[in-house]
């Protein structure tokens, strides 16, 4: 150190009074607390309020919202979750960067502060009103005048919003509703608001309004393709999954198409921490993703081929744990809890001697039984080889004689196989036949032998024997073509066979499944597979899942803590389900509510069906009956509706209120249907009588997020300008009269809406939050009152309802509404069509519902009398909340006058929260006890240990801290402070059947449509070949697989416009691509590129990265067009959202109904809005962009 520097350094001491380090390099200063006031001031605040984010995520994180001078400043996480036990990591802190950035919205420039409407519409409406028309007539005039109609519809999404008053907004909304109900019918009104669990009251209040007026709520879980159809197929359950704390219990964890750190951020720590307990983690994904970072092994798999890998693993598993050696735990498990021992009839394949195909489960009726529901009672062979009709199948669930017998108790050890062993020469060990099994990876059908018996004149085998045939696991003496070993690549489903398909080396597949099986054997089922959207959201996602679930069922992992499937896609579980359903459906006033599966609704009404250029039989099994050949997929939709398998809105080409005017509305409707004067609307969705007319979105950004086939929505449903490359001129445009959105921020949905209402944020209202991944419920609380002219959804819908009721009182009065109801799961309707076959002249289930249109607002604000009079149905049991209604009356006060006189008031959000908790089993032990007692009567088994009558959660508990729920028949797993939630533990530990045909978990699905599609057994189906399906020619441009996984910087479109998230990322829409693909189009990192296909165009910047595999690009989900999206070169118009390149493709097997677990329920079963099979052309564009 130079002298001068030394002097200066020493002098530095005197710049302030402080202690300098002996070596003169450090200045120490005591009393620093006086020294830096700025940050201390910055930290200070007036209060901290508990709330959370009602986003469509599985977070349900409780937050501290800081308020200073009446201003929301920031948020940090609460850490006071219920403990999960002293020997495991706790839930705290929970949260993610998206949630941490939420308060930005409160005062941001994208906040919607006032009601808005399109200027041209407001002007026309004002003119019509000014000319003396009443509101309804004014609305009718504008919407029926073709010129005016086109004027405001074409203006949708083009700006020109003007501020209006709440009074004018609610008047126009009410007029639109009254006009629609009067002219077209209430089922032409639709509401869309997803995922109630994230904010139950906000969802329920709008759904309650829509339901009370006879409108239809649209499903979301299936529409989002988050519904794993394999779950109803296999488990007879919508979806039930372990809480994230149960990952801790797993000794082997596979993450398959799930990027947990990004999509389950608050829970990812268990994955990290469980590794320290010796858990092995395997990640299977196409790219080197955030989760791979935690893996012990990372298997890079070709997108969409995961099923092939799982099938090959199943091959090894069956060979090594069921044939070469028998693992007692596995054998015992599958015999008791799965359909593997059940007998299946074999029928001769058309016109081919000696070649058979699997057909239906053998039933008691086949054995000649005449007893109740005999054709719903499945059969296996007992230890003595004699047929046994065991308890527990659906035939025992609903009838009088099934009481006490719907259970899984067994008096005998069922035979898994009919194979007699190898007697040294072929065939002697018993009778064998060759069966044909479809394959879809190229090559002709498989021909493989199964051992058979003849019972009741039918040739039968077991599901287990079919499984071995399907998986290609040969046993000596059985005829057919079989693989010679793991290394045989020519026959499915060997490890060598999957290698060229998946890119995963055969030896790694073998190694992983061996470890998996060994761990499951050693731990009795503590192996878990976390499944994500990467494997769900394919057209054939259900087959991929069934291949996964087979691994878990074969190794005894379901219904075990630390084991089983963990499907975390979407957020299906509103834990206090029953209370929410009561409020949301308005079931306390009238039943049933109208509910429609989203995917086929949009498929028909956005006219995407017209763009299906292929035959519905195109994807059928080559050895199926050919029932779909020559038909259009839309015809199959109509058939499912006619069969009563699935509802549709509108139902008929007539106003259901007019049908209700008949003396006997039901008889009249059936007669008119029979003689053809009345038709199903689904048969001609483009007839203006069959259009939806009013659509309300709240808690949702349909048009900036989930609308697959986005440009079809804009073009046909809205009549707006679009980027649709080749619109079908035959199809109508502009079906909707009114699109209404409630939101707190500007999105594609608000931009395209006719009227936009300013919503309160989640920090400005009371509500409840729960999820599938956590065993607690907790509260939203207002940190501030809604600022400007914003209102909570609750108050907004009440304002709408008041305006509507006032207008409707005289105009609509009291009417009878004819509602068509499908056969519902978990009701006796699920055994209405034996064999799954609808009668030739099927008549729909019709119910007449009285609508008192003047009383809608009053009904919304009171708990109606049907709550206790008809009870609260859930999963086949019914709660009777008589005491709860009294309690709610005392807690909430009684309505003093009107139709709700003397009923508990529901006039605030907090009271609605209170009602939801009081009316649900998970939060009210008295109701749960009722349910378990009914269940015990049906099963004849004991649920006493699950009953905790005194357990009760009130709203104040959830405001104080997240509160643990208790066991209830609403769900399949056990809940308690010392037990982590894992699905089906009640089934496994209390002999309770699954809600399926056999009462067991299903490998085999025998419905005719499953055979038609070749999916009766787990099977590998590759991603759709879109080029072939749509007859597209070859191109020398870069064609890539177009995937839309969930983003690190948003929850769907929410947060993607948040400045903090944009600052931490690339600040606008991006597409991730590999170095190789970027080189092919000459694009560098951050270059502007365009992706185009037959559905639309996307403009984005490229992120070039070596973590991406060649041939696949990622456009992360829901990058809305509102932020930094320039005009495209392809069309000269604004680029689209991620779903501009996708579209709806209906898988017919998802529409099966009326057949045990394959019966309809809202968000339980329905065609998925899958979107991952899509491809796109990508090219570099001019780097000069204009907005």
């Amino acid at each position: 150190m130079s002298e001068a520097e030394d002097i200066l350094l020493k002098t530095g001491r005197f710049f302030r009074r402080s202690v300098t380090g002996q070596d003169l390099r450090t200045v120490y200063l005591s009393g620093g607390r006086e020294g830096d006031a700025f940050y201390r001031d910055r930290w200070s605040h007036d209060k901290v309020v508990r709330s959370t984010h009602g986003v469509n995520c599985t977070g349900s994180c409780s937050w501290k919202v800081y308020v200073k001078d009446g201003i929301i400043t920031w948020e940090t996480q609460q850490t006071d979750y219920p403990s999960v036990g002293p020997d495991r990591p706790e839930y705290e802190p929970r949260g993610c960067p998206r949630g941490a950035a939420f308060s930005w919205y409160t005062y941001s420039p994208t906040r919607i502060r006032y009601p808005y409407a399109r200027g041209v519409l407001v002007r026309m409406y004002g003119e019509a009103r000014g000319s003396g028309l009443d509101p309804v007539a004014a609305w009718a005039e504008i919407t029926t005048n073709p010129e005016k109609r086109e004027t405001y519809q074409r203006a949708r999404g083009q700006g020109g919003l003007v501020r209006i008053t709440w009074d004018l907004a609610t008047e126009m909304i009410a007029a639109a509703h009254v006009h629609t109900i009067e002219t077209y019918g209430p089922d032409r009104v639709a509401g869309f608001s997803p995922i109630p669990a994230m904010s139950m009251v906000s969802h329920a209040i709008g759904a309650r309004f829509v339901s009370l007026i006879g409108g239809t709520m649209l499903s979301f879980y299936d529409w989002y393709a988050d519904l794993p159809v394999a779950s109803p197929q296999v488990f007879g359950d919508q979806t039930d999954v372990p809480e994230s704390a149960d990952w801790w219990d797993a000794a082997y964890l596979m993450l398959w198409g799930a990027n947990v750190p990004v999509t389950r951020t608050p829970d990812a720590h268990w994955m990290a921490e469980a590794r320290y307990r010796g858990q092995k983690v395997v990640v299977v994904a196409p790219d080197y993703n955030d989760a791979a970072k935690f893996a012990d092994e990372f298997l890079a798999v070709n997108p969409g081929t995961d099923g092939a890998l799982a099938m090959a693993m199943g091959h090894v598993l069956l060979r090594e744990c069921f044939v070469d050696r028998q693992v007692p735990y596995f054998t015992e498990y599958v015999s008791r809890y799965t359909d593997l021992p059940f007998l299946v009839t074999l029928t001769e394949r058309d016109g081919r001697d000696g070649c058979y195909v699997p057909d239906k489960f053998l039933t008691a009726a086949d054995l000649g039984s005449q007893e109740e529901s005999a054709d719903w009672k499945t059969v296996f062979l007992g230890a003595d080889g004699e047929p046994v009709v065991p308890n527990g199948s659906v035939g025992f669930r609903w009838g009088e004689r099934g009481k006490g017998r719907w259970n899984l108790k067994l008096d005998t050890e069922p035979l898994l196989t009919l194979y007699g062993g190898d007697s040294g020469d072929s065939g002697d060990s018993g009778e064998n036949v060759e069966i044909a099994l479809p394959r879809f990876d190229g090559g002709g059908p498989l021909t493989r032998g199964v051992p058979v018996r003849r019972i009741g004149g039918r040739l039968v085998t077991t599901v287990f024997d079919l499984m071995l045939a399907q998986y290609g696991v040969h046993r000596r003496g059985l005829p057919g073509r079989w693989p010679h070993g793991y290394g045989d690549a020519s026959e499915p489903y060997t490890p060598a066979w999957q290698e060229p398909i998946t890119k995963v080396p055969a030896e790694r597949a073998i190694k992983i499944v061996r470890e998996f099986a060994a761990t499951a054997e050693q731990t009795r089922g503590r192996c878990m597979i976390i499944l994500g959207a990467g494997t769900t959201q394919w057209f054939h996602g259900d087959t991929i899942y069934r291949a996964f679930l087979s691994l878990l069922m074969l190794t005894g992992c379901q219904g075990r803590n630390g084991g089983g499937w963990a499907h975390y896609v979407g957020q299906e579980k509103c834990r206090p389900q029953t209370g929410w359903a009561q409020l949301a459906g308005g079931l306390d006033w009238s039943r049933p509510p109208r509910q429609t599966p989203g995917t086929p609704f949009w498929y028909l009404h956005t006219d995407q069906w017209r763009y299906d250029r292929f035959d519905a039989g195109e994807l059928s099994s080559p050895i199926g009956p050919g029932a779909f050949r020559g038909r259009h997929t839309a015809d199959l939709v109509a058939e499912a509706v006619r069969n009563g398998w699935m509802p549709m809105a509108p139902a008929f080409d007539r106003n259901p209120l007019d049908l209700g005017d008949a003396a006997d509305p039901i008889a009249n409707t059936q007669e008119e249907l029979a003689n053809g004067t009345l038709r199903y609307a689904a048969e001609d969705p483009d007839d203006p009588r069959n259009w939806p007319r009013v659509l309300t979105l709240w808690r949702s950004n349909l048009l900036g997020s989930s609308a697959k086939g986005n440009e079809y929505f804009l073009h046909h449903l809205l009549g707006a300008r679009s980027n649709l490359p080749q619109p079908d001129e035959r199809a109508p445009r502009g079906k909707l009269d009114l699109l209404l959105t409630l939101d707190f921020r500007m999105t594609s949905s608000t931009l395209f809406s006719d009227i936009v209402l300013p919503a309160a944020t989640w920090y400005e209202k009371h509500d409840l939050s729960s999820t599938d991944m956590h065993p607690f419920v907790h509260a939203f609380n207002p940190a501030i009152t809604p600022p400007w002219e914003t209102k909570s959804d609750f108050h907004a819908f009440h304002a709408i309802a008041r305006a509507f009721s006032a207008m409707a009182k005289d105009r609509l009065g009291v009417r009878n509404d004819v509602v068509a109801l499908p056969y519902q799961h978990d009701t006796p309707g699920e055994i209405a069509q034996p064999g799954g076959r609808a009668p030739a002249r099927v008549t729909p289930n019709l119910v007449v519902v009285e609508r008192d249109y003047g009383a809608v607002a009053e009904k919304m604000a009171a708990l109606g009398p049907l709550a206790e009079r008809k009870g609260l149905p859930v999963k086949g049991v019914v709660f009777t909340p008589d005491e709860e209604v009294v309690w709610l009356g005392e807690r909430c006060g009684l309505v003093p006058r009107g139709i709700g006189k003397g009923r508990p008031m529901l006039d605030t959000e907090a009271k609605a929260c209170e009602a939801i908790l009081a009316l649900s089993g998970v939060s009210n032990g008295r109701l749960a006890a009722q349910g378990f007692e009914q269940l015990a009567e049906r099963t004849g088994t004991d649920f006493g240990a699950l009953i905790h009558r005194d357990h009760r959660i009130v709203f104040a508990d959830t405001q104080a801290r997240p509160t643990h729920v208790a066991s209830s028949p609403e769900w399949s797993g056990k809940e308690s402070h010392d037990r982590r939630y894992s699905p089906f533990t009640i089934n496994v530990e209390h002999h309770k059947p699954w809600h399926t045909l056999t009462g067991r978990m299903h490998f085999f699905l025998d419905h005719d449509w499953m055979h038609e599609y070749g999916e009766a057994l787990p099977v590998y189906r590759p991603p759709l070949d879109m080029t072939a399906l749509f007859g597209e020619g070859a191109t020398d441009m870069l064609v890539v697989r177009y995937l839309t996984p969930h983003s690190k910087w948003s929850i769907h479109s929410e947060y993607q416009d948040n400045l903090l998230m944009l600052s931490l990322s690339r600040g606008g829409p991006v597409i991730w691509m590999s170095v190789e693909d970027a080189a092919k189009i000459g694009a560098a990192d951050n270059d502007w590129i365009e992706a185009t296909n037959r559905n639309g165009v996307v403009v984005a910047r490229a992120i070039v990265s070596h973590r991406m595999p060649e041939g696949t690009v990622y456009m992360h989900h829901a990058q809305d067009r509102v932020i930094d999206v320039p005009k495209s070169e392809a069309t000269g118009r604004r680029g689209g959202i991620h779903n501009a390149l996708t579209r709806v493709l209906i898988k017919p097997t998802h529409m099966i109904g009326g057949y045990a677990q394959l019966s309809y329920a809202f968000n339980y079963l329905g065609p998925t809005g899958n979107q991952r099979d899509e491809i796109t052309v990508i090219r570099k564009r001019s780097q000069e962009v204009t907005y």
Partner: protein, 536 residues
Amino acid sequence: MSPRVMAQLAMVMNLDKCIGCHTCSVTCKQTWTNRAGVEYAWFNNVETRPGQGYPRGHEDQDRWRGGWEVDAKGRLRLRAGGRVRKLLGIFANPLMPSIQDYYEPWTYDYENLTRAPLGDDVPVAPPRSLISGEPMAIRWSANWDDNLGGDPSEDPILRKVGDQVKLEFEQAFMFYLPRICEHCLNPSCVASCPSGALYKREEDGIVLVDQDRCRGWRMCVTGCPYKKIYFNHRTGKAEKCTFCYPRIEVGLPTVCSETCVGRLRYLGVMLYDADRVGEVASIADDKELYEAQLSLFVDPDDPAVAASGLPDDWIEAARRSPVHDLIMRYRIALPLHPEYRTLPMVWYVPPLSPVVDALAGSGYDGEDADNLFAAVEALRIPVEYLAELFTAGDPVPVTAALRRLAAMRSYMRAVNLGEEPELPHSGLSAEDIHDMYRLLALARYDERYVIPTAYSNTPGAVEEIGCSLDYDGGPGMAGPFGEGSGRPVPVSIESFHGLKQRQTGEETTRDRVNLLNWDGRGKPAGLFPPKKGEAS
């Protein structure tokens, strides 16, 4: 000679648990820097490695010349030169990252979405610079290379490691590195400041900028090799991570720690010998700095500690310090860039990673459950890369730390599966493994954060803030270069201290009822007039 024992609040981050979610960055920013002048500043940021980081290439000390170096005579000096050189270059500093190296902060025309007149296309919000207000094209951000986005080959560490690493899909690896101020024992920022505005708090070692004294020379920005001091271009002051001292003082974890959903941050007290700081920082061989820094730390049970005059609760906290255990007992936490010689006090547990594909299929890591986990040598993240970050290139301590993590996993797997565990050779006893497992896996809140409060022994500190004028250079007093201090106007809001004082001190409650902080028990003091005979 008996050590001069001082206490330092330190942090350890377990990178093996970091999910790269950036929640810490956001909660920190929301709490501290979501205001004009520091839009670009992230006191806490998370970098994907390999990657250039933020600001771009900050670890390239050949360019930025941050930290210290040892001269030919073995003496420690600032790498960018001493204060004289700094003062000469005070108006033109080539060693300062430009705003483009951080990133040009931006916003969007959000209001266009609501206000756009009827046109012929969908309204959009294009980006605008927050510096100039003009439309801009976004070319860099605070986290541009997140998840290996773009080309990481410019990563200064990667360049050091050289051709051993191929940036190809088959060999892809990454991990996340959250960074805050290191609150160094030998802070080069403090030594760089010509105004004496930077200081290290005596009681807890937190390094702070005195906003009153800062003259905005920005020498600290250059001096800090971690580039964790930011210039507020609105106030003209330097700002930096404060270790959330207003929270720490009352026993609350820093915002970044408490909000860390990976639960990977640990806070605790480290005791060190303040007299040996210079000696240790001057050790000739970079590779010896890690061990040397360990030697600086004083065992809380050392008799010298009892004689040090440190408050009992601090000594007790040092005994229970999770940070001490991770650094000293298990030796799995390592310093970030010890070769900068600042003796950083935010340490890191290095990350495990998947095995390299080429080795996985060959049965390299065994097929029996006993050997389910791969050997450290087969992991995708090259040990050399980690060594360049944490041990000045010496792979030995990194490998040892990773082995201990791996040993814990295989040991605990046996326990988990009900087998008889075998103690692997890793230098850890069975008790160590159990305790380490408890700290890393269970990571209970009260064991992650052991923070003594600043109150108990310093009653004088509990005062309303903003009035400590009694020092040289206070408000109105000219600084050494004759500039006004630009003292920020305190927001007239109550602080914790004020509130606490008001609740407990008779002086204020008599005149003012504070229902906001009334705990709901009994009646709040001062709400009702005193009854007759009751003391007022």
